[in-house]
C-alpha cells in the first residue's frame, strides 16, 4: 500500500516542485486565466452572500451572466475547494490556483483509472500517467483553464463508460450523468461531443461486432432500471437547462458576443462564427512546431493556447512499438488520434471545412487547441500500450535477438541522425535517445546482477530527463511574464456587493501602450473590483453584453450615451413610443442633446392601458428637466440589492416614468408593492416602469429561468451526485481488470 501511494506521490511532488515558482506566487499566471479568476471571484462573492448571480449589474450597464456561469461550470463542486480555502484565510488568487492544481490531479487520476481499465494493466497505466503528467498538458493546465474544465469531466466520463459497459451498474451510470452535467456546463459541450464521437467511431470501425453485445448489455440494464434511468436523464436535462437558456439567449439577442464576429454578424451570428476563416485561423497547426518536441527548450514559446510536447522517450517507444503486432487497443487509439488530429489541424485538411459546413455545432468552436489534452492522452496511452507489449515476454525478446537489436538500432540511429542533422536539437533530446538505446539494449542483454533495479532506474531517467530540461526552461521563461494586473490583484480578497447611484466612467489610458489583449485585462480587473463602471469603447466592442446596449454604445454618440448612463435612475413626466430600430438612436441622441423630459419607449413592447393613458394625458411638467437621482433621497432609495434584483422605495408627488439605466432583457420582471407590473424597454436599451404617486416599493428581479431557486437546486443535485461519484471511485477500485469490453 505504502509503495502504491509512493509511486504516485513522488511524481506529483516532483511536478509541484517544478511548478514552485507559480504556486508560490513568485511568477504570476499568464493574462488569459485572469478572465476565469475574475469571473469566479464574482461568482463566489455572490455565493457567499447566498446568491447565484445570473446578472452582472456592474459592467456594460448590466448584462446576463448566464453565459459566463457556464464558462467555468458554476455547479462544479471543485469551486467549493476555492471557497473553503478562501474562508480558511488563503488569498483568493492562491485559493483559485490550488483548486485548479487539485482539479488537474483529479483529471489525472481519472486518466490513470481509464488507462488501467482500457489497457488492463496497472503498470502500463502508470507509465501513461507519467507520460501525460510530463507532457505539455502538465505545463499548460495552469495557464489555460477552459481546456482543463473540458478535459477532466470528459476523461471521467470515459472512465465511467468503460466501467459501465463492462458491468452496467447504477453508480457508474450516475457517474456518467454527473460528468455529462459537468461537461455540459463547462464552456462549450461540443468539444466533449466531438471527442465522444471520435472515440465511438474508432471503436465501431475496429470492433463492430462488440457494439451490439454492449448495446444488448445496456438495454438489459435500462429495462431493469427504467425509473432510475428516466429520473437521472430528467436530472441531466434539468441541470443543463441554464446552459441551454444561455445559448438560447444568444439566439434571441438577449446577449451578443461581438468578439466572435467580424462586423455585420453581431446580430445574425449569435454564438456562431459565421466567417470560416475566424475558426480556421485557430488551428493548432499555427502553434505546432516539430522543434517543440526536440529543440532547444529555451526557444520554445510557452503560450497558454497550446503547444505540443510529449516526452521524447514516449515517441521512441511508439516508434519501437511500430514493430509490435496490431491489437484492437492500438487501432482504436491510432484512429481516434488521427481523427482528432484532422479536426485540430483546422483548414489545412478538408476534413475540418467539411465538418464546419455540414455539422452545425462546428461553427461554434474556435479553440481547436482545447483538443490537445485528448490528443496527448491518446499518444500517452499508445506509448504505454507499446511499452507494455515490448516489455512483455511476447515482445522484443520473443523473436530472434538480432532482429530486435536491428530494430532498436534502426529506430534510435534514425532518430539520432535526424536530431544531429536538424542542427537545433537540444542536448537533453540527444541524451534521451542515447539513454533509451542503452535501456532497450540492456533489456535485451542477458541477465546481470541488479538488472531489474538498473532497468527501472534507467526507465525513469529516460522518461524524465528531457521533461526536466523543458520545465527548467519553462521556469526561466515564466520570469519574463510580468502580467502586472494579476500581480496587483494577487493579494486582494473578494469585496462585498454594494449599490451606488452613479457609475464611474473609465477613461482610455494613453500612457499604457499595449495590445487589445492588455486592455481587456484591464476589463477583467474591473470584474475583480466589482464596482459600477462604464468601460471604454473598445471593451464595449469586445465583451458580452445585451444587443440593445451594444447598439447604443457602438453608435456615434458613444460619449453622450456614457454620460447619460452615468446616473442610474431618471424620472420622466412624458413618454413617447418609438420604433426600436435605427431611428431610435437618432431620436435618443436628440433627446439627450435637448435634455427633454420625455422617455422613449419601444413600440414593440406591450401597449398597456397604463401606457396609453400616459400617452394621451398632456404632459403637465414637460418643460422641466428630467429628474436625475444621484444618491439616496426621500424620492428614491434602495432598500436591498444583489446581483439578480434591486428593491427600491419611491415616494413621488405625481405619477412618473422611471428609467433604470440597467440593460433591458426579457428575463426581468417588475413588481410594485408585490404586484407584477409591466416593464418597458426605454431609452433604447434600459428598463422603464410607471411609478404611481405616493409611497411604493418597487422590485426589479431578473429571473430568466422561471424560478429563482433553480441554480441552487442544481448546485445541491451536483453536490449530492459528487458524493456518489466518490463512492463510485471506490467501487471502481474493487473492479478487477478483466478482458476488454470490446
Amino acid at each position: 500500500m505504502f509503495l502504491r501511494i509512493l509511486k504516485f506521490l513522488l511524481p506529483v511532488l516532483l511536478w509541484l516542485f517544478l511548478m514552485r515558482d507559480l504556486l508560490s506566487g513568485r511568477v504570476p499566471l499568464q493574462s488569459e486565466p485572469f478572465a476565469d479568476l475574475a469571473m469566479l471571484k464574482f461568482y463566489l462573492t455572490n455565493l457567499r452572500e447566498g446568491v447565484v448571480p445570473l446578472w452582472n449589474p456592474y459592467l456594460f450597464c448590466g448584462f446576463s451572466w448566464l453565459i459566463l456561469l457556464n464558462f467555468f461550470g458554476f455547479a462544479n463542486p471543485v469551486w467549493g475547494v476555492t471557497l473553503l480555502l478562501n474562508i480558511a484565510g488563503v488569498k483568493f488568487y492562491f485559493a483559485f490556483l490550488y483548486t485548479v492544481v487539485f482539479y488537474f490531479f483529479i483529471g489525472l487520476a481519472g486518466f490513470y483509472l481509464l488507462a488501467r481499465s482500457f489497457l488492463n494493466d496497472s503498470k502500463a497505466a502508470y507509465i501513461a500517467f507519467l507520460f501525460l503528467l510530463f507532457s505539455s498538458i502538465g505545463l499548460i493546465s495552469l495557464q489555460e483553464y477552459n481546456m482543463l474544465f473540458i478535459y477532466v469531466p470528459t476523461v471521467w466520463f470515459f472512465c465511467f463508460c468503460v466501467s459501465f459497459t463492462r458491468d452496467p451498474n447504477k453508480i457508474s451510470w450516475l457517474g456518467i450523468v454527473l460528468t455529462l452535467i459537468l461537461a455540459g456546463q463547462a464552456y462549450l459541450p461540443f468539444y466533449f461531443v466531438t471527442v465522444l464521437l471520435m472515440a465511438f467511431m474508432a471503436a465501431v470501425i475496429v470492433c463492430p461486432a462488440g457494439i451490439p453485445r454492449i448495446l444488448g448489455r445496456l438495454l438489459r440494464f435500462f429495462r431493469k432500471n427504467v425509473l432510475f434511468v428516466f429520473l437521472t436523464i430528467l436530472v441531466l436535462l434539468f441541470c443543463l437547462y441554464p446552459a441551454f437558456m444561455a445559448y438560447y439567449g444568444t439566439l434571441t439577442h438577449d446577449i451578443v458576443l461581438p468578439w466572435r464576429h467580424r462586423a455585420g454578424h453581431v446580430l445574425s451570428g449569435g454564438a456562431m462564427f459565421k466567417d470560416y476563416s475566424t475558426v480556421a485561423e485557430a488551428g493548432l497547426i499555427a502553434r505546432m512546431s516539430p522543434e517543440d518536441l526536440y529543440g532547444h527548450f529555451d526557444r520554445i514559446l510557452y503560450p497558454n493556447d497550446g503547444f505540443v510536447f510529449i516526452p521524447g522517450f514516449a515517441i521512441l517507444v511508439i516508434l519501437l512499438g511500430s514493430w509490435n503486432r496490431i491489437n484492437k487497443k492500438i487501432a482504436i487509439l491510432a484512429l481516434f488520434f488521427t481523427g482528432l488530429l484532422f479536426v485540430v489541424l483546422g483548414n489545412v485538411t478538408p476534413v475540418h471545412r467539411f465538418l464546419y459546413n455540414y455539422i452545425g455545432y462546428f461553427s461554434l468552436m474556435r479553440n481547436l487547441h482545447f483538443f490537445l489534452p485528448f490528443l496527448l492522452s491518446a499518444a500517452a496511452l499508445m506509448a504505454a500500450e507499446h511499452a507494455k507489449n515490448l516489455l512483455s515476454p511476447e515482445g522484443l525478446r520473443s523473436g530472434p535477438g538480432t532482429v530486435a537489436l536491428f530494430i532498436i538500432a534502426l529506430v534510435h540511429g534514425s532518430v539520432l541522425v535526424f536530431l544531429l542533422r536538424a542542427g537545433n536539437a537540444g542536448l537533453s533530446s540527444i541524451v534521451t535517445v542515447s539513454l533509451s538505446a542503452l535501456f532497450w539494449g540492456s533489456f535485451l542483454a542477458g541477465n546481470f546482477w541488479g538488472k531489474k533495479v538498473f532497468l527501472t532506474v534507467l526507465f525513469f531517467i529516460c522518461l524524465l530527463f528531457q521533461p526536466l530540461d523543458m520545465w527548467q526552461n519553462f521556469r526561466a521563461a515564466m520570469r519574463f511574464d510580468t502580467a502586472p494586473i494579476i500581480m496587483k490583484n494577487k493579494n486582494s480578497n473578494p469585496g462585498a456587493m454594494r449599490f451606488v447611484f452613479e457609475r464611474k466612467i473609465k477613461e482610455q489610458s494613453n500612457s499604457h501602450r499595449g495590445t487589445d489583449k492588455d486592455k481587456l485585462d484591464n476589463f477583467y480587473e474591473d470584474y475583480m473590483s466589482m464596482t459600477d463602471i462604464l468601460p471604454t469603447k473598445m471593451e464595449f466592442q469586445q465583451c458580452p453584453l445585451t444587443y440593445s446596449t451594444y447598439l447604443l454604445f457602438n453608435s456615434d454618440g458613444f460619449d453622450a450615451a456614457r454620460n447619460y448612463a452615468k446616473t442610474k435612475f431618471v424620472f420622466y413626466d412624458a413618454v413617447k413610443l418609438i420604433n426600436p430600430q435605427r431611428e431610435a438612436m437618432a431620436l435618443f441622441a436628440e433627446a439627450l442633446r435637448e435634455n427633454r423630459n420625455m422617455a422613449l419607449i419601444s413600440s414593440q413592447g406591450p401597449l398597456t392601458a397604463e401606457l396609453e393613458s400616459f400617452l394621451r394625458a398632456p404632459p403637465a411638467h414637460s418643460d422641466a428637466a428630467p429628474l436625475r437621482i444621484s444618491g439616496p433621497s426621500e424620492i428614491l432609495s434602495v432598500k436591498s440589492f444583489d446581483a439578480n434584483q434591486v428593491k427600491l422605495a419611491a415616494n413621488l408627488d405625481r405619477k412618473r416614468f422611471l428609467v433604470y439605466n440597467d440593460s433591458y432583457v426579457p428575463g426581468w420582471k417588475a413588481l410594485i408593492d408585490g404586484k407584477q407590473t409591466s416593464l418597458y424597454l426605454a431609452n433604447v436599451a434600459f428598463k422603464g416602469i410607471f411609478v404611481p404617486s405616493g409611497y411604493h416599493e418597487i422590485s426589479l428581479i431578473y429571473d430568466p429561468l422561471g424560478f429563482a431557486g433553480i441554480p441552487f437546486l442544481i448546485l445541491v443535485i451536483v453536490w449530492v451526485m459528487a458524493l456518489l461519484l466518490i463512492a463510485a471511485i471506490f467501487r471502481l477500485r474493487n473492479i478487477k481488470p478483466r478482458s476488454s469490453a470490446i
Partner: protein
Amino acid sequence: MKSRIFEDLVPGRCWLLYAGLMLTTAALFNCDKALTQRMNFLKQGEADVFEYSAGNAVFNRGAFIMAARYYTELLKYHPRDGVIYGNRGFCEYYLGGEFQAVSDYQKAVTMEPGLGSLQWDLALIYFRQGHIREASRIWERYMNNFPAMRKYYGQLKDRLNAQKNIAAAFKLELLLRKMEQDERLTHIKLGESYFLLNDFVRSGAITLAGHKKFPSDRRLDYIAGLSLFKQRNFRQAAFFFEEAIRIDPNDMMSYYYHGLCMDQLGQHQEFLRDVLRLNSLRKQGVVPLPFPENSELLHLNTELLMVKYQLPSP
C-alpha cells in the same frame, strides 16, 4: 531465418497501420495553407518586436521567439536575403544567442553590403563582446560609406516621388531619418571605441566632427572632453564638459571631469563649485551615467523588408 525475419517485420504490424494513417494525413494535408497559418500566427510577434526596436514596447520574450521563428521560416523561401538574416540576428541577440546573432549578422552584411544598419548592429555586438577593434573597423567603414548611401537613398526617394509612388517614398523617408540617427550614434560609438583603444587623438577628432553636426548631443561633448582630457588639453576639455553640462545640467560625470580640469588649470574656486554641485546632485539621487553608455541594437528593418522587393539594390 529469412522467412522469420520477414514474418516479424511485415504483416499485421503497427507500422503498417501508422504508415497508412500518415499517408492519409499527408494526402489531405495542404502545405501552403499550413504555412500561411503559421506565418500569420508568428507575424503577430514580429510586430511586437518592431515596437520594441522602435522603443515603444517592453521586451517580450514570447514575441521575440515568435519573430525569430518567423524569420527562420521566411529564410526557407528567401535564403539570400540579408535583411531577413539581420532581423533574425536582432531577435537572437535579445534572446541571448549571441553567437547565432553574430553569425546571422555576418551573413547579412555579406549579402547586403550596401545596408549600413546591418553593419552598425554587427559592430555593436562586437563592441559589447569586447572586440572593440573589430567594432571600430566596421563603424569606420560604415561612416565612410555614409554620404554615398544617403545620396543614393535620397535620389531614389526623389525618383519614387516623381513616379508618385508615395508609399515607398515615405518608407524611404523614414529610412533616411533613421540614417541620420545612425550617423549620430556612429560618431558616439566610434569615439567611444577609439577612446577605449587609447587612441585619444582619433576619438577626439571623431567626436569633434560629430559635435559640429549634432551640437545638441551631450554624449559627443562628453567623449570629446574625455579625449582632450587624456591628451592633457584641459582648457579645451573643460569647454566640452561645459557644453555637456549646458545640455544636461544633471550630468554628474561632466561635472566631475570639469572639476578635474579646473583643478589642473589651478582654478580652485571653479573646482570647489563643481564638487559642491556633484555633492548636491548625489543627494538628490542623481545617478552617474555609465561609460561606455549602454545602447541597443536599433535596426529591425521591417519597413525596409516591406518595400525591399520594390526597390533596386543600392
